[in-house]
């Protein structure tokens, strides 16, 4: 069987292009399947294979999640059907898998014509997958349903094929069964992608328009922008324009990833590749924006661009105040790579100088914090994350609260909190406990659907603030790990909220202030005060702890003064050991934050995060 030569970037007939993504839950084997496709199409040979080739960042690899999408070009020789022997070009666009990055997911989907819906044959579809599936259906993608891990003893392909068919329509028998681990069914899937996914449509003679679906900072190259060309051609000789801002950049390089970057002259209609323009910050090359050429450029951008708004705020403070400049520089560097990260300096009476940082969600917060600590060697204290509240005062003024300590004291007319529409997928056995949990978090049931005989989809409206701390953990523990969760912000609601302050020795510690529902305020205050009593070591003086709403104290605890802090014996042989202990204690003290006269350990600030759940 002779094959035609492999089509080159910039000279690929859109008819042989297939752009697709894989929609899957964490652990359902997306990265393994991607790896197998890379191997099968020969772009990576077996011995170069690192497990999960496409997940670049260490944190992604360790956590097994994909944060940043990538795209890889794979030539594939069709092996079945009338067109067997034809060389196709498959562009696999990796999508982030977490709710925090829904916007990025939607942009990645826009760059495709088809999606492989990958579901673990032992677990069935999960809420986030379902959410992304709906996004894909909304984006008019052709869906190829696939059950993975059919080699597992616990696999129930019939059951879950039925479930998938119930969701997307079609026949359960059409759900392809593969094992990404053993490679079984992978070739069939590649053939199916060619058959099912439509080739891209676009006007090759129109002014160029390309969608940015990812933008990554590289230390050596500056920002690498991933694009999908919709119309016309992007050439390495062009000067390009970002249509949202009108900013013009010199094009330094155009290319495709296969799976290492390969320079190319041009990118034509339907092609997926990267641009390098010398831009140093991803903010200048934002996901969702449209790239055109500076001369004879397009006038209408592609639709759907928006700037993601932070949903969650948290204060980050260096444990050692001297590290403030390092933290500032580190945030600047992270922002190069993270267009969604917003921050501004703030100061706290308790914690000194730091930053209030806006995040897309809690995972985003955790990732940023971890990267700051790991990559910049910083020790940080983060305050309890909070959502954004809108406060209407009686005098008509409106205040946006991103930090509980800034909650106004004056006459408040109404407070609005953000709400989400949460979708929980679970075996039907757990309906009761799930509803109980959602009610305790002030949820309102929207509806419930059976996906199959024994699996349900439960929808709730929940205050976003109520699901931030540990809702997911509580959900998982109450459902033995079977339930999955997805949510999307849907607006705001008025609520009876109050600010609970914590006072140490009569002084408010701003870092412990929280905004909670009035009904939960008492339980919250009691729980936090008793937790702080456990966590703050005894000092040389008595430390009263109070929780208060305004001037009204709702809980109190007392840390008795320490009376004994001495090791009784000290012989000749003890001296070195005792000195080392002293040095260790001094180090330990550095990990304490002085709040007024009180030494508060770092853990106390972290623990404040987990007391949100008074009903647990």
């Amino acid at each position: 069987m002779s094959t035609s030569p492999v089509p080159q970037p910039g000279a690929t007939d859109p008819k042989v292009l297939r752009n697709f993504c894989i929609i899957a839950h964490i652990d359902h084997g997306k990265s393994t399947l991607a790896d197998r496709m890379l191997q099968h199409t020969g772009v990576v040979d077996g011995r170069d294979m690192k497990a999960q080739y496409l997940d670049r960042m260490d944190i992604e690899r360790e956590r097994g999640i994909t944060i940043k999408s990538q795209a890889v070009r794979m030539p594939f020789v069709k092996s079945s059907g009338d067109d067997a022997g034809t060389v196709y070009v498959l562009n696999m666009i990796d999508t982030p898998g977490h709710v925090d990055f829904t916007y990025e997911v939607s942009r990645s989907l826009e760059a495709c014509e088809g999606a492989v819906l990958l579901v673990d044959a032992a677990q069935g579809i999960e809420a986030q997958t379902l959410a992304n599936l709906y996004l894909a259906i909304d984006a008019d993608l052709d869906i190829i349903p696939v059950l993975n891990k059919i080699d597992l003893p616990g696999a129930q392909p019939e059951k879950y094929a039925e479930e998938i068919a119930g969701i997307i329509g079609g026949n359960p028998d059409d759900v392809l069964r593969v094992s990404a681990k053993t490679g079984q069914g992978v070739e069939e899937l590649l053939n199916l992608i060619v058959d099912e996914v439509p080739p891209p449509q676009g006007d090759p003679d129109a002014p160029p328009r390309a969608l940015i679906f990812d933008s990554v900072y590289d230390t050596y190259r500056g920002v690498v922008t991933y694009v999908r060309v919709v119309d016309g051609k992007l050439s390495h000789r062009d000067r390009i324009k970002m249509m949202s801002t009108g900013a013009v950049h010199e094009m330094l390089e155009v290319g495709v990833i296969s799976p290492e970057p390969v320079k190319a002259g041009d990118l034509g209609v339907g092609e997926v590749g990267y641009l390098i323009t010398g831009v140093k910050e991803v903010r200048q090359s934002r996901v969702g924006d449209t790239v055109t050429s500076n001369i004879r450029g397009a006038t209408e951008p592609l639709g759907g661009y928006k700037t993601p708004n932070p949903m969650v705020y948290s204060g980050l403070y260096p444990l050692d105040g001297d590290d403030y400049p390092t933290l500032r520089d580190a945030l600047e560097k992270l922002q190069l790579n993270d267009a969604a990260l917003v921050y501004e300096p703030e100061s706290s009476g308790a914690l000194g100088f730091g930053f209030r940082i806006g995040f897309l969600g809690l995972l985003h917060l955790e990732i940023v914090r971890e990267r700051l600590e790991r990559e910049f060697n910083l020790e940080l204290i983060s305050t309890a994350p909070n959502v954004v509240y809108r406060v209407e005062m009686e005098d008509g003024k409106e205040i946006t609260v991103t930090n509980p300590s800034e909650y106004p004291d004056g006459k408040i007319d109404k407070v609005y909190e953000p709400v989400v529409r949460a979708t929980v997928l679970s075996p039907s056995d757990y309906i009761g406990v799930i509803m109980e949990l959602c009610q305790a978090r002030r949820g309102q049931l929207i509806g419930m659907d059976y996906l199959s005989e024994d699996r349900v989809e439960i929808k709730y409206t929940l205050p976003m603030g109520e699901i931030m701390f540990d809702f997911f953990d509580a959900l998982k523990s109450r459902t033995k790990g079977y339930a999955s969760l997805d949510y999307e912000p849907t607006g705001e609601q008025a609520a009876d909220l109050v600010k609970v302050d914590v006072l140490l020795q009569g002084e408010v510690v701003d870092a412990f202030s929280a905004i909670v529902h009035r009904d939960n305020a008492y339980a919250y205050g009691v729980s936090l005060a008793s937790k702080l009593k456990e966590l703050i070591p005894r000092q040389q003086f008595e430390v009263p702890i109070q929780a208060a709403i305004g001037a009204r104290v709702i809980a109190r605890e007392n840390i008795r003064a320490i009376r004994k802090d001495v090791l009784a014996k000290c012989y000749g042989g003890d001296i070195s050991r005792k000195r080392k202990l002293l040095e260790k204690q001094k180090e330990g003290k550095k990990r304490m934050k002085m709040v007024g006269r009180v030494e508060v350990p770092q853990e106390a600030f972290i623990a404040a995060l987990s007391t949100g759940d008074a009903d647990k």
Binding site: R560, R563, D565, V566, L567, K569, G572, L582
Partner: protein, 388 residues
Amino acid sequence: MPLTERSLSTLGHRPFGVYVHVPFCSVRCGYCDFNTYTADELGEGATRASYADTAILEIEQAGRELVGAPVVQTVFFGGGTPTQLPSADLVRILDAIRRTFGLADDVEVTTEANPDSVTPESLATLRTGGFTRISYGVQSAVPHVLATLDRTHDPAGVPQAVRWAREAGFEQLSVDLIYGTPGESVDDWRASIEQAIALEPDHISAYALIVEDGTAFARKVRRGEVVMPDDDETADKYVLADELFSAAGLGWYELSNWATDDAAQCRHNVLYWHSDNWLGIGPGAHSHIGGERWWNVKHPAAYAQRLAAGESPRHDGETIDTATARMEQIMLETRLRTGLDLGSLGAAAGAAVPGVVSRGLATREGDRLVLTRTGRLLADAVVRELVE
């Protein structure tokens, strides 16, 4: 690690003491983390019979190295239980020290002893051989407390052991007590204090029980088999001891040590606390000469082999630089009734002094900072403030 000129040069200017470690006990007490062994635990080459000869080898070896060593002011035999060795062996070791370095006319020679490990004869041999002071490990007067501590002696035998020591001619006699043992009530402790005072010693040491990592006792605590008393109660016990000892004419001179007068203090321990020079003999023993500190291999068999082969038993050591020496000085002198020399403090530490005084933890006596009773219980916290 050969001694430097610098450290040797201090030998002539500082009091010089010798510590002899005797690593034998009849039973291993659960709480004890000292380097000690029962008879069955040791193999070839490290028997009790050969121990004195081995220690003497080390003394002779050290004598060749410590050029310019002055006569010895204090000798302290600790352990372990030194009186597990025949008194004649202890005397032979002391003789070797005398032969090698010379003993000062007013030398203090102490041995620790268990009340049930002495006889009138053994005590007489020690006294005649040059020992001047006995320190009895009494620990408690209460049987259930002694049982928790794995101590074997009958508390009823203690007055007899004290009487024998007096009859043998020991004028200096210390009683060692432990408080804060799990299960010990405040009244139990009061009984121990009162029994100790009734023995009319010129010196009492009272140590709060420390749970040392790696001991059988620490494992029991970790498993919840015994529960350590609350720190506040242990603090109460300290206060009680200090009140009763003071009323009986025993004044504190270090935060865990009381004596009837200056002459009754344990000069050997004072030497440690003043960072003077001492030579440690025996497995695991620590030495300090002019800013050089070192310690011997821990196992008696390894120790004996080294010496038999003519090698140094030294295992490792450290050089104390000026900053570290200052830190140790603060750490040690703060614990003493004579107090910490304020003139020796740096600016930062000096700045912490008014706070320590205003909180009632210490008083200024001339140019010295002396802990109050409350301050003694918080001595480590005070030290941390002063070294910052």
